[in-house]
């Protein structure tokens, strides 16, 4: 299974195997990783599963769909490498992905 690494804002690192087909957000929620709220449950209606994707990974990810950038306007401290983790589906190609979590989601 692909391994995804989540780095909390305080630097605490969690590397977890996540089944193909789940989103990076679902992987975090199912494994109780603090720092991803996912209030709307993955319907791209909030911005509380916001993550920063490490540079080298950012360009390898599937492009943002319409609406994700709009939601990111409402995220806490969005940056150029911001994504909503509910929109990142785990596949073998994502094995080794590293995401940093923002200081807070709301």
């Amino acid at each position: 299974m692909p391994k995804i690494t989540y780095i909390e804002h305080n630097g605490k690192t969690h590397t977890i195997e996540i089944a193909n087909g789940l989103s990076v957000m679902e992987g975090a929620v199912q494994n109780n990783i603090p720092g991803i709220d996912a209030d709307c449950g993955g319907s791209m209606a909030c911005a509380t599963c916001h993550v920063y994707v490490k540079e080298e990974w950012f360009n390898k990810l599937p492009k943002k769909e319409d609406g994700e950038e709009d939601m990111l306007d409402m995220a806490f401290e969005p940056k150029k490498n911001s994504r909503l983790s509910c929109q990142l589906m785990v596949t073998e190609q994502l094995d080794g992905l590293v995401v940093n979590l923002p200081e807070k989601q709301v």
Binding site: D39, C40, G41, C46, A47, D73, F76, P78
Partner: protein, 338 residues
């Protein structure tokens, strides 16, 4: 103090249908919601998005669903307390005493929390110093636009609220419009109008900028904004407005001594009662083994919680199950003529 058989917190689909169920079995109820309109997430987050899994309704939008639920409540007289948030809950003998942020007080044996993911609050600026100026020179909504006349106003955001206010206030104020990227998500006509005003120097536009800091002095005089490429600009400004949409926060509910896990409240699956007798949780905010966060689950949970309310509201009566197709008393309550 308002006396009612049940108080519902949250006017989303679950809260509305729960009210219907309470009235159908002859109980009174009132509804409190922090938003200024009825409908909850359906109306605030996805009014135009189609929903495909409401039983017997192949497709409807969040707004249509809300309107249908409101129509279904028409036979009943239900008092809504909008733009109010429940702050305090305390036990007084057999009843719960509830107080809102506007000072409305209720006494009721039953509280049904249908609060979704919590109450909607505006998302705020991240620099901490902003708090100090909130509601003085930094605002997240506008109540009185006259205070901005002949002043410099810096507006942050890229949606319709930010654009609409930039256009409106540009008539009598100097406007800086700041957005984190160079695309706007407002209606095209609004974006065009804003671009026009920018060309005629009525609006100063700063794209790919975000708020970096505000002045640390007693009065807000200037702010610093930072470009994607780290360049920092200082802007003189009298007022700052932020329109970043709404976020959901559990708020005071977290302090009522309920069993809360990951922003949801544990309930049983017979009455949907919490660890406090007479306080129930239904819809997205409740959790139990197998919980599905679907609107249809909220309807079921509300129907059962309503029956549980009967016992505490009418301790000396026995609840009799009846069908709407055949019950005379239900038809009377609905105002249906035989």
């Amino acid at each position: 103090m308002i006396k009612t058989d049940a108080l519902i917190i949250g006017a989303g689909p679950t809260g509305l249908f729960t009210a219907h169920q309470l009235k159908l079995i002859g109980l009174s109820c009132e509804i409190v919601d922090n938003l200024d309109k009825i409908g909850g997430q359906c109306i605030e987050l996805y009014p135009d998005k189609p929903i495909y899994d409401i039983p017997a309704i192949p497709e409807c939008t969040g707004e249509e669903l809300t309107n249908n639920l409101i129509n279904q409540l028409k036979p009943f007289d239900i008092k809504f307390h909008l733009s109010e948030r429940v702050e305090e809950v305390k036990k007084n003998n057999e009843n719960w005493e509830v107080k809102t942020n506007k000072g409305t007080e209720f006494s009721t044996p039953n509280i049904i929390i249908a609060g979704g993911v919590g109450s909607f609050e505006p998302r705020k600026f991240s620099p901490k110093e902003c708090e100090k100026f909130e509601n003085k020179s930094i605002f997240y909504s506008i109540k009185d636009k006259s205070i901005f006349k002949n002043k410099t106003v810096s507006i942050f955001g890229g949606g319709d609220s930010a654009l609409d206010w930039a256009i409106e206030l540009s008539k009598d104020s100097k406007i800086n419009l700041i957005h984190r990227r160079d695309e706007f998500r407002g209606a095209q006509a609004t974006v065009d109008k804003m671009n026009e005003l920018e060309k005629s120097d009525k609006i100063n536009l700063f794209t790919k900028y975000q708020l970096k800091s505000v002045s640390k002095k007693e009065n807000l005089e200037s702010i610093e904004i930072e470009h994607d490429n780290k360049e920092v600009k200082s802007l003189k400004t009298d007022y700052v407005l932020g329109f970043f949409g709404l976020i959901m926060q559990l708020g005071p509910i977290a302090n009522w001594g309920l069993n809360i896990d990951k922003k949801t409240i544990s309930v049983d699956t017979e009455k949907f009662e919490t660890n406090h007798k007479g306080i129930y949780a239904v819809g997205d905010i409740c959790t139990y083994p197998g919980k599905l966060k679907l609107i249809l689950s909220g309807f079921h949970e509300g129907a059962l919680a309503a029956r549980a309310c009967f016992k505490l509201a009418r301790p000396n009566e026995k609840y009799r199950f009846e069908f709407t197709t055949s019950s005379k008393s239900i038809k009377n309550r609905l105002g249906v003529k035989e």
